[in-house]
């Protein structure tokens, strides 16, 4: 049975390794998140925002030409059609309702690709709350369109200038901001990472993805489960959402796809499941990329959303227990996959998602299998990168 325990552990991974300064905030959240989520009022508000604001349910689309090409049945779960263009908003809608119930007036977030930053800025605009988004200096440059969107939505984008100036460092800065503002601020983490209860809370908000996959698949095929679910993993929130209702259904293979950057052992990679060892990052005991001396290694991926040296504790558990298979890809394979999907199916995927698509080329399956691939986001933000490499 795969489930989180009371202390936030999935097997040996998880927990809350945080400085005392964060304790009251994290404790407040831990004591309240399940209670609030169970309230009918909360559920009503959450469901209606998902339907009317986000545009759920998102389609489960039978990708005919992709299926033909690979000789297997492939459904795409179209999270790219969510408002703001990625799955990230499922979580921010949930967390903004949580923040309101906790009486918070100021919202902070970290972002890599900018999708989570945009999704946070969007719900803050919707609720009229102040919004500050931390983003690595490098990412501000390579995801410029999303920076502009955040500004348009009224958020303040603060550059993180330490370390590799990417997602890890933006997360450090957001955590420091929370330490400095312990009373009025809620931190909307963008993935299934961080101290307990974040990984569990974010997974629950994203679990709407697999909830829909189940009934949509049943409508399409008569069976409410696929043979495999494929998703890319940065921190792992779209994967957690797509896996959630199949975690304990061993008929379903779970395939987590990571970014190998310029090659797993090139020194420029973000393949945590291969390169990672047990450690603590951002408050969670998990797998992460680090030196023998316990210094966190700066990751590298062309896709800002996968450029993270850790993975969520749920995924660390799924991978080390063998429940999930982990695959990683070079960035140029992902570029090819993005081009393929654009020209064969008329869908431009996000770079992060393109990594998941490349898994189709190497994974083993039977021709009669039904695969579901979580199309986590759309590629508008990545057009610059795509054009450079076309």
């Amino acid at each position: 049975m795969i489930a989180v325990d009371e202390r936030g552990y999935y097997g040996e991974f998880g927990g809350a390794y945080i400085p005392e300064m964060l304790w009251p905030n994290v404790q407040e959240l831990r004591e309240n998140y399940l209670k609030f989520m169970a309230e009918p009022d909360f559920q009503r508000e959450f469901q209606s925002l998902l339907r009317d604001f986000v545009g759920r349910p998102t389609p489960l689309y039978l990708a005919k030409r992709l299926s033909e090409h690979f000789g297997v049945t492939i459904y795409l779960k179209r999270e790219d059609l969510c408002h703001t263009g990625a799955h990230k908003i499922n979580n921010t809608v949930g967390q903004i309702l949580m923040a309101k119930r906790l009486g918070k007036t100021r919202i902070i977030a970290e972002t890599g690709a900018g999708q989570h930053g945009v999704a946070t800025a969007t719900v803050c605009a919707l609720m009229g709350l102040e919004c500050i988004v931390y983003m690595g200096e490098v990412d501000i440059e390579r995801q410029a369109p999303n920076v502009a969107r955040m500004k348009m939505l009224g958020a303040e984008v603060r550059p993180a200038t330490s370390g590799s100036k990417t997602l890890k460092d933006a997360t450090n800065e957001a955590i420091r901001d929370w330490i400095n503002n312990p009373v009025d601020t809620h931190y909307i983490i963008g993935s299934v990472v961080g101290p307990h209860p974040y990984p569990d809370m974010v997974a629950r908000f994203q679990s709407v993805i697999s909830e829909e996959i189940k009934w949509q698949l049943e409508e399409h095929t008569g069976k409410d489960y696929p043979d495999a679910v494929i998703a890319c993993v940065g921190g792992g929130s779209n994967a957690a959402g797509a896996f959630y209702h199949f975690l304990n259904d061993t008929r379903v293979r779970l395939i987590a796809v990571e970014a190998a950057g310029e090659g797993i052992h090139s020194g420029k990679s973000a393949a945590t499941s291969v390169l990672g060892t047990k450690g603590v990052i951002h408050g969670s005991r998990t797998l992460l990329m680090q030196t023998a001396d316990g210094q966190i290694v700066e990751p590298h991926s062309i896709s800002a959303g996968l450029d993270y040296p850790g993975i969520g504790p749920l995924h660390a558990h799924l991978i080390s227990s063998g429940r999930a298979e982990a695959i990683c890809f070079f960035f140029f394979e992902s570029l090819e996959a993005a081009l393929f999907l654009s020209r064969q199916e008329g869908i431009i995927p996000a770079l992060e998602t393109a990594h998941a698509l490349s898994a189709l080329r190497v994974m083993k399956y039977n021709p009669t299998d039904v695969l579901v691939l979580c199309l986590s986001g759309r590629g508008d933000k990545d057009l610059n990168t795509y054009m450079k490499h076309l």
Binding site: Y17, I18, M21, V280, I281
Partner: protein, 327 residues
Amino acid sequence: MWVAQQSQSVFGVPLGTQHGLFWIKNTHITSLKGLQKTLRYALSYPNFAPKGLLHPGFRWRTLKHSIMNRIEQLFQRKDKNVLNIYFTAGYPGLNDTEDIILSLEKAGVDLVEVGMPYSDPLADGPTIQESGTAALENGMTLQLLFEQLAAVRKKTEMPLIMMGYFNQVMQYGEKAFFEKVAEVGVDGLILPDLPLFEYENHYKDLAESLGLAVSFLITPQTEPERIRKIDDLTHGFIYIVSSSSITGAKSGITDTQLAYFNRINDMQLKNKRLIGFGISDHETFETACQYANGAIIGSAYIKALKNNPNVAECTAEFVTAILLDRH
């Protein structure tokens, strides 16, 4: 000594009859070598030996614990105006550790906190993070730091504390780390991101058996019940975080903070208390000393070292300016 205060039977016999403890206390044994000598002496001349020492209930670890901890000894000697200074090992120069510790001692500092530089120091502000990044670039590693500290320990009896993040401990191996810390003669540990719960369940017995004083932090938001728990688990001193912030964030002390210090004082905790975060000069040090047993200074000293990397000169000037007529 906390063993004597806490458990009423250090050697398995009631405290009142433990001549041994008092005898040892009075002879000021502070090293393991000295202790071994004493024990050899006691075994050779049992009639002169303290009763407790040869009692069947004698526990070597407990004795070692009660004798070695220099932090406890410091607070027995001095419980006002205690000055604890933090520095990042490997900064400004890779091999400055010894110079810094000896200069701090010479200048009149009571306790030194040695920062293990870390790539992602969540609880620290830009000053300490930058010094850590520079130290790592200089080539500092835990192993080198342990070597440096073992060498320093031969030259000084200054109480030393290591401060770092739990991931560093995990990679070294938790048990190996705690043992190494004790072995090189370090007296205490501060691991800000090690949760109380994990410490209590996995590491407390180990730390206590090695005689390590592990300090925990409390903040203006920490609830009374949790403060009691922290007081229970702490040996050495409690670290009072002056405001809700990362290190080096604010300076000056407000009335709200004073009310918070008073609230803590009213709780009559068993441990001594040092105030840290935002203590940067003589004035803030003085104020902190009025409300606790002393104070901890970190970022301000790192800044001073950045401006004047001549360790001996910088340290003398810095500490003199903090203490003025206090010592």
